[in-house]
Symmetry: C2
């Protein structure tokens, strides 16, 4: 996927030339961006709001595989997952910086594709790209993004505010991104065996999109704001539902009961999991990369959210002595554990 | 230098364990840091000041060579060079985020050394480490740091404010970091030929320190503030004096006259350059990594700075038609060009 009809070597531009080329058409969208790319630092003014900062580093061969991830999708996703962290604080992302390190295997056209995806995400979420750094590596591609945003101090939602009897809520559905990855890995293996076989992706659009082009849930933050609901705790689901619930419970010093039957799983995710001989619930619990929002609310706010189809109440918070438990469909209780992807595949 | 008597594999901690291990003893120093490590994003409040953000990415084999750079020095330097960008805006760095990607070649003890250097820089410059990301690579070490700081809006110094007749000033002395690198590269080559030969670093302390443990010029920003001097333009010297002067001239749409005889060069830098058969002036112009501050001031401020031994007036700003020129010791004028390191070595 790195092939292009045109190929311009990065060395023909040099570092300053490359940065200029990639950033010269960027238009500033936010009033809070006083100065973007082009000086020693970007300048931002949030006036009476506080500043949120979150950062991620993505490494080729660890976080993404360019044999099946198009660079434009990678660019979009790498921005979206960072913005997701700002939304998870109940804030609004406004700026990002982008640092990339890449080998001369990449052409200028390839880097343009990557940036096009990043700028598409900036456009979609009304975020300004205000700075960054571009350098070479001896091998591979590394992307480091820092997202900066603003929040009303009294609306910031940490992980540590969950209280006994709070309801545990999640947006969207879970496990899809993980099953999309399984499809892509399967087709990669088939391709390695026989490069003439066309990839079989039919009927898998939804889960492939969940993996390749995840959305940050800006709409949920907007909805909560409109409904005047301030969650007591919130986190985005990057490592799987189980891991994130445990983070909230640990930070808040509480226990929880999570109901297996309530966990939202899309039919395509469910059927694909079964095709792969995997337990759909386990994919939702440990799959990760869904970038949905997991949050807790006060009981009084239940009526405001109960009819929203995109938010599911999946359990409730208990006192810490009760532990963190999954109540299975049969009604039995099991301690919740964060297994992560590796454990999932070794089953 | 990666050897240690103890060696704990990173895999024994896992990602969350590693982050916890590295960050659990961090104490917050700044009132503006509302929430540091441990949630989806850090929370910062600068009240009526504006926010500055700068980011850098450093790659093993490109920006540093672990055969002669101790990890603790690398940690210190990687933070200091980022803070330098915030000072170059006439601001005060207050927080950093640190993302590292590293292979299993590195032990926990090695990562602790790196972090110890970073935290030493945080201590020295009163900066809080508020977040980051840690991940694996298939090879090598990548460090990505984002520095966040505050500034009074009316004191921010951009690159584009230089005016005709302004004086061109520089802090400290130049070319030392580059000559330190030459010494280290020479000794590395000797060591490769014959590992039994002890490195010959005698009498080179100053330039080695310039290369291995550069300081960000917080003191100069403090001094300018105390003297009530707001530079008209400012930049830090990461790529060499010539390149940075050209940045200011381009951004400000002005020309300049730089006097070769005024360029501050330490005797150790001068002598070492001569030993290597290099022109000391060229080392100062194109060597880079000095992290001194280059700035322009109004003529009226001359009296306030003229007696400061650590600030040298090296030239003045002209109208753009005059071009950007170096006036040699013999009095002849030459167009200033940014050659960079490669050109320097190929001479």
């Amino acid at each position: 996927m790195l092939e292009n009809t045109e190929r311009t070597e990065l060395s023909t531009l040099g570092e300053f030339g490359l940065i200029k080329h990639l950033t010269e058409h960027i238009e500033i969208k936010n009033a809070s961006t006083i100065k973007g790319v082009g000086d020693d630092a970007a300048v931002i003014s949030y006036k009476d709001k506080v500043t949120l900062v979150s950062t991620d580093i993505l490494v080729e061969g660890v976080h993404f595989d360019l044999t099946y991830v198009p660079l434009k999708h990678l660019g979009f996703k790498s921005v979206a997952v960072n913005l997701s962290d700002i939304y998870a604080m109940n804030g609004q992302p406004k700026q990002i910086t982008v640092s990339i390190a890449l080998s001369n295997r990449f052409s200028l056209e390839a880097v343009e594709e990557l940036y096009a995806g990043m700028l598409l995400a900036c456009e979609k979420y009304s975020v300004d790209l205000v700075g960054g750094d571009t350098t070479s590596t001896t091998s591979g591609l590394v992307i480091s993004i820092t997202a900066i945003g603003e929040a009303d101090k009294e609306k910031i939602t940490y992980r540590n505010g969950a209280k006994e009897k709070n309801l545990l809520c999640v947006s969207g559905d879970l496990g899809g991104a993980y099953m999309g990855l399984q499809i892509l890995e399967r087709e990669k293996a088939v391709f390695k065996e026989n490069p003439k076989v066309q990839p079989d992706l039919e009927g898998k659009d939804y889960i492939l999109e969940r993996q390749l082009k995840p959305e940050a849930r800006r709409d949920i933050i907007q909805l909560l704001n409109d409904l005047k609901v301030i969650p007591t705790a919130m986190i985005d689901i990057s490592d799987g539902l189980a891991s994130e619930i445990l983070h909230i419970c640990q930070a808040s010093n509480v226990g929880c009961e999570l109901y297996e039957e309530k966990i939202p799983i899309d039919p395509q995710t469910f059927d694909t999991a079964r095709q792969f001989g995997l337990d759909p619930t386990l994919c939702a619990l440990s799959g990760g990369e869904d970038y949905e929002l997991l949050f807790t609310i006060n009981l009084e706010d239940y009526d405001k959210l109960k009819n929203d189809l995109d938010i599911t109440i999946i359990g409730h918070i208990t006192n810490p002595e009760k532990g963190k438990n999954l109540i299975s469909k049969s009604g039995s209780s099991h301690p919740l554990t964060a297994q992560g992807w590796d454990a999932l595949l070794k089953k």
